[in-house]
């Protein structure tokens, strides 16, 4: 008899060869989990190689999903359940599984040859080395093949349904509805009825296997998580970012033009926008990163919304053009989906080490606003705000996301576009001089310059990369004018602080002495770690930055209010350096650069130790 246990959260990791369909399996389990009403957070992890040698540790692809009956912030550090489709997947992931964790392994691939390939002298499923875990060694491939035998698929194709069989089994184990996945398969394989039927049969067979056998003594229930009322969908960071750009352009009444060159992990922004032709989005796959941003700047000059999306190496290549955009004072949104660097680094792994590049990576004094998204769904709001600032202030804006946000997914309350703040390009339509002339560098009270687009009669003008005379925009080599303009451009960006909300501190106790300050995707680990620290009876305050330039007006005051300020970052302390130099506050960097999100349990433990040390003083 299977007993049903209710748990508040579960972390499952699906792992297999990169050809085993683990990303799809994880994605579908996420959908099934959304349908069950849980909160969730996901972390896909895959090799950069499209087909790394089969059966090797290098070729292991995994998908981790954390779901719960409360609001969760991270995809979880360590899985409770590991689904391993081959020996390499077990080898690569076992170290993350706590003792007592559940392993579901497909025995079909545990052949002597495959075991030897990853250095197992004997079969760990049978040699007793996994005694500390709950192991379910099942012939998933064989059972899936048997389940679809009547459908006439070849042996190889039949075995490929093993991922759906495993999904069905997990759906049963965690009480997930399978209807959503069935209709997904019906659509996906509409033109290949045999494959469609086989995948559906395998999914149902996996579910039935759990139900009819007594292999599993326990079955688990995770209750729906409370959430504010609304319509929700699942969204990944790159998709939300693409939607935010589209929403910004639509509200501004401009065409969205994306110039991009394929680069991991930013390519999905190009893919999502290229698929939005019905929404009038124009995408341009350029010959290189430089042309991509150049064309985007050309689109902005022409009076549309120019956007480019890239990752760190591409941002480096675009910098000269971004400097030109600073000089031209035209709207431009540059999305940097950060990855581990330098050079090629680890393209599919996450990092936050482009902050200083974004802030300071141009020659000359070339300030621009920098904003960062903090969760997959938040990429929408961050992108929308980037568009608004770019247009309102006639400036390039760098929007920072990273691989973790880009590929991760979470439930997302679908925003009501009508309720978003308006964006008005406020084009110049007539002369702005008493003599009937037009000066392109006359400014409004925010210091945003007049933006006259080609096709507007009487406002013909030339702009360029050479220093501008104040007001007229004519070429000027005057020393005093240059210094004036350098300061003016900085002041304009500084003025954006007027629309940057004050940083909010979360300190339920009101008496914390330690502040943990983050930016970007560390939001999840920091807030989850803080929750754990507080549960452990310690007081800690947290705050998170969306705006990296300009910084919120109250930030200095907030930093000075605490005895210790800890800044966790996936870099060597780039924000910490900025804070120290800006505010002369002795902030302490907490640096992790492993290509992975900061571990919440490690951070929580370290914070507890720090707080105890502080309290002991």
């Amino acid at each position: 008899m299977t007993t049903v246990t209710t748990v508040d959260h579960v972390v499952i990791r699906f792992a297999g060869d990169s050809g085993d369909g683990m990303q799809l399996t994880g994605d579908r389990f996420t959908h099934d989990t959304a349908a069950a009403g849980n909160d969730f957070s996901t972390l896909p992890n895959f090799p950069a190689e499209i087909r790394a040698p089969q059966g090797t540790v290098a070729g292991v692809s995994s998908f981790q999903l954390h779901f719960a009956d409360f609001d969760i912030r991270t995809p979880g550090d360590r899985p409770d359940v590991l689904v391993a489709m081959n020996p390499a997947a077990l080898k690569a992931n076992l170290g993350d599984l706590p003792r007592g964790g559940l392993i579901i392994a497909d025995t079909a691939d545990f052949t002597p040859r495959n075991l030897a390939k990853v250095g197992y002298a004997s079969d760990p499923l049978t040699d007793g080395s996994l005694a500390d875990y709950q192991v379910h060694a099942l012939d998933l491939s064989g059972q899936a093949t048997a389940a679809v035998a009547s459908l006439g698929l070849g042996r190889k194709d039949a075995a490929r349904t093993k991922n759906m069989y495993a999904l069905g089994l997990l759906d049963w184990l965690y009480h997930r509805p399978v209807e959503g996945t069935i209709s997904f398969l019906e659509k996906k394989f509409a033109t290949a009825p045999q494959v469609r039927d086989a995948n559906i049969a395998a999914l149902k067979a996996g579910y039935a296997f759990g139900e009819t056998t007594e292999v599993f003594a326990n079955r688990y229930k995770v209750a729906p998580a409370p959430a504010p009322a609304g319509t929700y969908r699942q969204v990944s960071g790159n998709r939300a970012l693409a939607y935010g750009l589209m929403a910004g352009a639509a509200k501004a009444g401009l065409q969205l033009f994306l110039g991009a060159y394929p680069i991991t992990p930013a390519s999905d922004v190009l893919h999502h926008l290229a698929a939005a032709k019905d929404a009038g989005v124009l995408t341009f796959q350029a010959e290189d990163e430089i042309a991509a941003v150049g064309a985007a700047l050309g689109a902005s000059f022409a009076g549309q919304l120019g956007v480019t999306a890239t990752s760190g190496p591409g941002l480096a290549l675009k910098m000269e053009t971004i400097g030109l955009a600073v000089m031209l004072e035209l709207p431009l949104v540059i999305c940097d989906i950060q990855r581990a660097g330098p050079a090629t680094g680890m393209p599919t792994k996450t990092e936050q080490a482009d902050l200083t590049q974004a802030l300071f990576g141009r020659h000359g004094e070339a300030p621009l606003p920098v904003i960062a998204a903090q969760s997959p769904g938040d990429c929408f709001a961050a992108a929308y705000e980037a568009v608004k600032i770019a247009i309102d202030y006639r400036t390039p804006v760098i929007l920072l996301s990273d691989g973790y946000l880009a590929n991760g997914a979470e439930p997302w309350p679908v925003p009501d576009l009508a309720a978003l703040p308006p964006i008005d390009p406020a084009f110049a339509t007539g002369p702005n001089r008493p003599d009937g002339g037009f000066w392109p560098y006359l400014r409004d009270d925010k210091l945003a310059r007049a933006w006259a687009v080609p096709g507007t009669p009487g406002l013909e003008h030339r702009i360029g990369g050479i220093e501008k005379a104040d007001g007229t925009g004519a070429v000027s080599y005057d020393p005093a004018n240059h210094e004036f303009m350098v300061n003016l451009r900085k002041q304009k960006v500084d003025n954006i602080q007027a629309v940057v909300p004050p940083v909010e501190v979360d300190d339920p106790s009101g008496r914390a002495r330690v502040l943990v300050l983050g930016w970007g995707s560390t939001y999840g680990p920091i807030s989850a770690a803080a929750r754990r620290v507080r549960t452990a009876g310690r007081r800690v305050a947290t705050a998170h930055l969306r705006h990296l330039n300009p910084l919120p007006a109250n930030l200095g005051e907030v930093l000075r209010a605490y005895d210790r300020v800890i800044v966790p970052e996936m870099n060597l302390g780039q924000l910490a350096m900025v804070l120290r130099s800006t505010y002369l506050v002795d902030v302490q960097s907490y640096s992790r650069v492993r290509g992975l999100p900061i571990s919440l349990s490690e951070l929580a433990a370290d914070l507890v130790a720090l707080i105890d040390e502080e309290d002991a003083e």
Binding site: G280, G294, G298, F301, G464
Partner: protein, 350 residues
């Protein structure tokens, strides 16, 4: 309805001026700052003279340039213009042309700008056939940086950066353009005003990427580079569609196809006019145009064809890209469509 030029031409979609314009309308208030005797003056004057003849509105003209002496060009023309960064003008112009079919888009560039630092953008703009017109000012030298050899300088060129003579082999810009699948390829000379006008007018009237190489004298760093070509006995080979290709004194020399298929220059009297190649600028195959481009000397210039080597019709990248889109003119409808898209089909309600 605003009047525009006919469909299929380079200026289709660009609104026509209601009142006739003059050269003065295209002259900005900026003082022109090229060196005395620079070939750029002649090109600028010719350009300002031809623009009013196109009949389009001044405000619908955009000139994008890169970096170099010639790239100061936009400042001197009273239209919309951008003086950008080194080599990137074709890329920037691509964004302008894609988003605004109602604009006439010119690119001004030089041999260093287009062929060295910006080589990648040039070949891809040509390959895609974006509706832009590129004026490539070729003076075979770097002027603005004060006299280093350029990617079109002849081998052995002695400059400050090559005191022992350049060992670089130069590009043939028109061979490069033809290799990049360009649909309009032409060459002209700064001092030949009528020819310059004719070729530039044809170039802007061509729908797609047009490239016009302009031999342009730099009196400071490479004076007289084209003198041998320009004289009465010189080797400029004028190309006219449908006419036999002859040149030199009284058309005494002509281009003939050799037995191996390559082109060579012969005395017309010797071979007979009937054997002289008749120029076909509209040939679909670029082979003969390429062979014509090879008649250009790579070292000191003695012979070089001028005129339109190739002018063929092919759908443009920007027209094709726009044709794939559904553009919602009504903002409410656009927002509603977007709302439906971001909501998607897989939602749940709390």
């Amino acid at each position: 309805m605003t009047a525009t030029t006919p469909a299929g031409t380079g200026l289709a979609g660009v609104p026509l001026s209601v009142t006739p314009l003059s050269r003065k309308d295209f002259t900005s208030d900026q003082e022109v700052r090229w060196c005395p005797g620079c070939g750029d003056y002649a090109v600028l004057a010719t350009f300002q003279g031809l623009m009013p003849t196109l009949g389009i509105r001044r405000e619908n003209t955009v000139i994008v340039s890169g970096i170099g002496c010639s790239s100061r060009f936009p400042y001197y023309v009273d239209s919309y213009g951008m003086h950008s960064i080194h080599g990137r003008a074709p890329a920037i112009a691509t964004g302008v042309a894609m988003t605004r079919p109602d604009l006439a888009v010119w690119v001004v560039t030089g041999d260093g700008d287009a062929l060295s630092i910006g080589g990648n953008h040039l070949i891809h703009a040509l390959r895609r056939n974006v509706n832009i017109t590129i004026m490539l000012f070729n003076n075979r030298i770097y002027g603005l940086t004060k006299g280093q050899y350029s990617p079109t300088s002849e081998q052995g060129k002695v400059t400050k950066s090559t005191p022992a003579g350049s060992v670089d082999r130069p590009f043939n810009p028109l061979s490069l353009a033809l290799g990049a699948e360009a649909t309009f390829v032409a060459r002209t000379v700064d001092s030949h005003r009528a020819h310059l006008t004719e070729v530039l007018t044809a170039a802007i009237s061509h729908r797609g990427a047009s490239i016009v190489e302009i031999y342009q004298n730099c009196p400071i760093f490479n004076d007289g580079a084209f003198d041998a070509l320009k004289g009465a006995d010189g080797g400029l080979i004028p190309l006219r569609h449908g006419e036999p290709i002859t040149f030199g004194p009284d058309g005494s020399r002509g281009v003939v196809r050799g037995p191996d298929g390559t082109l060579r220059i012969a005395d017309v009297a010797e071979v007979g006019l009937g054997n002289v190649l008749v120029h076909d600028a509209h040939a679909d195959d670029p082979g003969t145009a390429f062979a014509l481009s090879r008649l250009t000397d790579t070292e000191a210039l003695h012979t070089s064809p001028i005129g339109i080597l190739r002018d063929v019709e092919r759908p443009t990248y920007d027209d094709l890209a726009r044709a794939q889109l559904t553009v919602h003119e009504d903002p409410e409808e656009r927002l509603a469509g977007l709302q439906a898209m971001i909501t998607g089909g897989d939602t749940w309600t709390v």
